[in-house]
Symmetry: C2
Subunit: 473 residues, 2 copies
């Protein structure tokens, strides 16, 4: 990466993290040039990047300033989930969302779709097309059960960014992060076992636990710093927990990045109670800060962290290419992967491998990160403008999901039903809980560029909420 981009990302991170506050004067061009040993023009270029992404405003003759922050909704309150393991429900609500075809003309504000219309994805499509014209048709064969070797090598290289020193042989390719998580859970737990999860938590994992007859123990989670270590420690003392499953970086649905020292403390806790950690990092590469947050896996020394991820959020979910670094559980996870689907389709693996090898991933990520960051601010604005007063919202530090909390007795399942006639759908909050909590919450996707159509859909959600609230009075 060029120097000025590096510098811009570093400064951007500091602004994002509150190191520089709204209204603060940013360091002078001269000071930064000396501090970082780069030329004045490099610093000027970096400031231009920050200006473009709305993170710095120039004032004539006084330098650059952090823009006065726009008003933002209050943060969601920390969940207080039931402190005992529960069976999971909510399948019908999940099904409502996942049985929709993209062709059906519904504006799906709730689903985990990234923006796949970026021109930076073109080399990937080209690679896929070329593979279909290959004489030896590599996309038609079974590949080996571990996954395409070249791709695993590329992923091992990528993982360095999150602090992981892994080899291709530590990795298994899966059909998306979904299969990675599922295989890990099946490798570690049996029916009736208890898994501790952050709360709210990814509904796919909730449903996996449900389908396998396992119980979820939901741990209270702070919307800025993640899972409560104190509550988790109490739970580990009280219950025979077989695994901890969480999404610590760019959490789904809350969007926080768990601070590094808390990640380390969580790992120490897992070591003390000898429990494995299933770490979902599927949004981790989309953190708005630079460098990207470290994974818990990167601190792991005894192979107890099973790192799951995929290209579904960074490239496209339709590729169904994910991976898992299962540490000491590799053989068991491999067996679970095999019995679930056999080997993974080679064509998308080969195409992604070529895309990575061609150096197209980093520029693509950079573009998407700044797009998602801008879109987040836009979405927060819309929520503030169109949703009822008192609406709370998360402050995502990465990814493209916003968590919105409405009045305590509001029911988003009813909201979704009412939205159907407007051809809009949100993700209802209750599917992110094992015990049907968060009925007054919803998840919004802000991946695609904010068009009038998207704005209209968000406004519609706000209006229907207000109508339902008025009816209730």
């Amino acid at each position: 990466m060029t120097l000025y981009v590096n510098l811009a990302e570093l400064l951007g991170t500091r602004i994002e993290n509150g190191f520089y506050r709204p209204g603060d004067r940013l360091p002078s061009v001269r000071a930064l040039s000396i501090e970082h040993g780069v030329s004045l023009s490099t610093v000027q270029q970096a400031y231009r990047v920050l200006e473009d992404s709305g993170l710095a405003t120039p004032k004539p003759k006084s330098g650059y300033f952090v823009p006065i922050s726009r008003k933002a909704p209050a943060l969601p309150v920390v969940g207080r989930p039931v402190q005992r393991p529960v069976d999971i429900s909510q399948w019908e609500q999940v099904l409502d969302m996942i049985r929709v075809s993209p062709a059906e003309g519904l504006t799906q504000l709730g689903r985990g779709m990234p923006d796949v219309n970026s021109p930076t994805l073109k080399p990937l499509l080209r690679a896929m097309g070329q593979l279909s014209r290959h004489q030896d048709m590599p996309g038609l064969y079974y590949d080996n059960i571990l996954g395409v070797q070249a791709l695993r090598e590329q992923i091992a290289r990528l993982l360095l960014d999150s602090g992981c020193q892994l080899n291709a042989s530590d990795l298994l390719i899966t059909s998306g992060c979904h299969e990675a998580l599922s295989a890990c859970i099946r490798a570690l737990c049996a029916p009736g076992d208890i898994v501790a999860v952050d709360s709210p938590s990814f509904f796919g994992v909730m449903q996996t636990l449900k389908g396998l007859g396992m119980k979820a123990l939901e741990i209270p989670t702070d919307p800025l710093t993640g899972i409560s270590l104190e509550a988790l420690e109490l739970a580990l003392e009280q219950w025979p927990i077989k695994a901890i499953q969480l999404t610590p970086s760019c959490n789904n649905p809350l969007g926080y990045v768990m601070p590094e020292e808390r990640k380390r403390a969580l790992l120490r806790l897992a070591q003390r109670f000898d429990v494995p950690i299933i770490e979902d990092d599927v949004y981790g590469d989309l953190a708005f800060s630079y460098p990207r947050p470290r994974t818990i896996k990167s601190f792991d020394e005894d192979g107890r962290v099973l790192l799951c991820s995929s290209f579904s959020k960074t490239l496209a979910p339709g590729l169904r290419v994910g991976w898992v670094a299962p540490g000491r559980y590799l053989e068991r996870v491999l067996h679970m992967k095999y019995i679930g689907t056999g080997s993974t389709a080679p064509q998308p693996q080969l195409a992604i491998s070529e895309f990575l090898q061609g150096g197209h991933f980093e520029p693509h990520l950079r573009r998407m990160r700044s797009q998602y960051q801008r879109n987040r601010d836009q979405m927060l604005d819309w929520v503030l403008r169109y949703f009822p007063e008192g609406t709370r919202a998360s402050r995502p530090q990465g990814g493209f999901m916003l968590w919105v909390e409405l009045a305590e007795d509001f029911d988003t399942v009813r909201l979704n039903r009412a939205l159907l006639e407007h051809k809009v759908q949100i993700a209802v909050g209750s599917i992110f809980s094992a015990s049907g909590k968060y009925r007054n919450c919803l998840r919004l996707n802000f991946a695609v560029r904010p068009t009038p159509r998207i704005e209209a859909a968000v406004r519609t959600v706000g209006e229907v909420i207000k109508q339902l609230l008025a009816q209730a009075c």
Copy 2:
């Protein structure tokens, strides 16, 4: 299909089934023309097809005859598996086979790869390439969890050939037949449960039962007519069997087609004991007889048969597109599919759908069926020529797999180890048994056109077997 092809396939079936025996005179051109109401030239064309595929020989002035059959190895003996439910092992042997990359230069005579080099597959590759150039990039999105609607409609149409009257809404798309089988087993059974299986049986199912902590009850199976209904009935009386899993049409690994009346009797048995049947039909469309054999599902009236299949054997396994018609268990199977992998990649689904819609599937199947039938005879010849005297072999009626049985105390795991230095691999028999039986058996793939390289590999297998036998003396 044109008339003469229809007629050729009908006659071919009768010859295959022994209706006309080796040396028999076949009906005259005139007689057939009257019997089927077609022109003399149509019959002559049909006979030319039969001649080409080696099923009829013309004798000057006396008409067509069934060729004197070449000598064939004796049939394998009927397995007498242990008549109690057992835990499954053999994972290491399966892993030896599935961890090989196609690039590694090993001649894999054991793996379930079809021939993907047929020119009849070209429209499929073209469709895949075109999808990557589509403006709206349909391959990149999540599709709905049920699978691409157009493909499900096409599959419902295909299923008519096997006697099934199903709608798109009865079908779920899966990541290969492997996921279909796995989702069905998980939907029906819990750890500790007993599943009755044909024996030898597909190792993927064996490993699924193992991974899920279930027990397999292996039922003796005839190499020509399939699972013993008498033994199955006894087993159903004696054990709390939760499901029957079998591959009745073009069985893997034995290649038999279970006669229709036995399929009906099996279904009656399942009804009497109220047990569901998981029917693996993945090779069913590759039956050498015409029309293709009916599925058990086609006789099912109360939704107890879960039909699993895929395009892995008819088109290409790397596509990872399968399906399941789960009958009354649809909702449960759908949940199990969702928690395993989420939705299936849309791009290959869309490409296959286009291939089917374009009418390319039927000509492709026809070509592959006759290629596999010819290759079967070639492979039987080679086994007879290169393997030790007394070697037994199956008489596949479809698909592309030959089951070979060696002297009772022979160990094919040792054989495979010895073959490694010759860069040849077979599938060892023991992986087809839950209890490690069939150590003296192996499976050979005869899909690809018989080249000198393939012949050399088969000869090598024969020679190494003889060497090992000589050492044992």
